[in-house]
Amino acid sequence: MKLMYFAWVREKIGINQETVSPPETVKTISELITWLESRGPEYRAAFENRESIRAAINQTHVDHHSTLEAAAEVAFFPPVTGG
């Protein structure tokens, strides 16, 4: 599974993308965040205010309850501020 990070999520984690293989028990965006937090303080800092983090699966907006079934690419980022 390819993970991508943008804006301050990217800065806090320190990388813009990585490939991970979470355990089978990780079935949703929310569970993926919890699993990532277990990997180090930089992830805990990035996801500290979890409600403010937006997610996308395969480049489509999803909420934190969404399942990862067909997820080839998952992205985490703050609320968008373009325009």
């Binding site: 991508m4 943008f6 804006a7 301050w8 996308a56 480049q59 489509t60 907006h61 992205a75 980022f77 703050p78 609320p79 968008v80 501020t81 373009g82 325009g83």
Partner: protein, 155 residues
């Protein structure tokens, strides 16, 4: 006649007159042309801004712009639309985003342009980072009013 849909992400500046000309082509049944241009303001929270950096999510951006555009064309009788969003380092006064809508009548052109901007602001994966005179760089916070703006388009 087809209604062209031009969506682009670029670091270069854009010229509004040229973009209108490219969009309208040879059509002569257009009655109303609305453009919206978003520009970099020189202050944020009281501090002078020196640079604004624009980051985006390549791939997802294009999908979102296409989605937003298709929705606008399905809601209003548009004769064409353009969305150009700049990325990279910009300075105060620089243009950030351009939206153009063409329609036979002004109400549709105005509404579609506002709709495109409202959805762009809340759905398209762009992020702004402002650097102030002090050297501090801060990611711009999303505004609640931008989320609220979406509610008026709910069917």
């Amino acid at each position: 006649m087809t209604a062209p849909r031009i969506n682009r992400v670029q670091s270069n500046p854009f010229n509004i007159t040229e973009e209108i000309t490219a969009l309208r082509g040879e059509r002569k049944d257009i009655g109303a042309i609305v453009t919206f241009t978003g520009t970099v303001r020189d202050t944020a929270a009281g501090e002078k801004i020196t640079t604004m950096a624009l980051e985006h999510y390549p791939g997802m951006t294009e999908q979102e712009l296409e989605h937003i555009t298709n929705e606008a064309h399905s809601r209003w009788p548009l004769q064409g639309s353009t969305i150009i969003h700049r990325i990279g380092d910009l300075s105060p006064g620089d243009d950030i985003v351009l939206v153009i809508t063409l329609s036979a009548h002004r109400a549709a052109a105005f509404e579609a342009a506002e709709f495109l901007m409202d959805f762009l602001k809340s759905k398209a994966p762009f992020w702004k980072k402002e650097t102030g005179e002090s050297g501090n760089a801060d990611w711009v916070d999303a505004r609640d009013t931008d989320t609220e703006a979406l509610t008026r388009w709910q069917k």
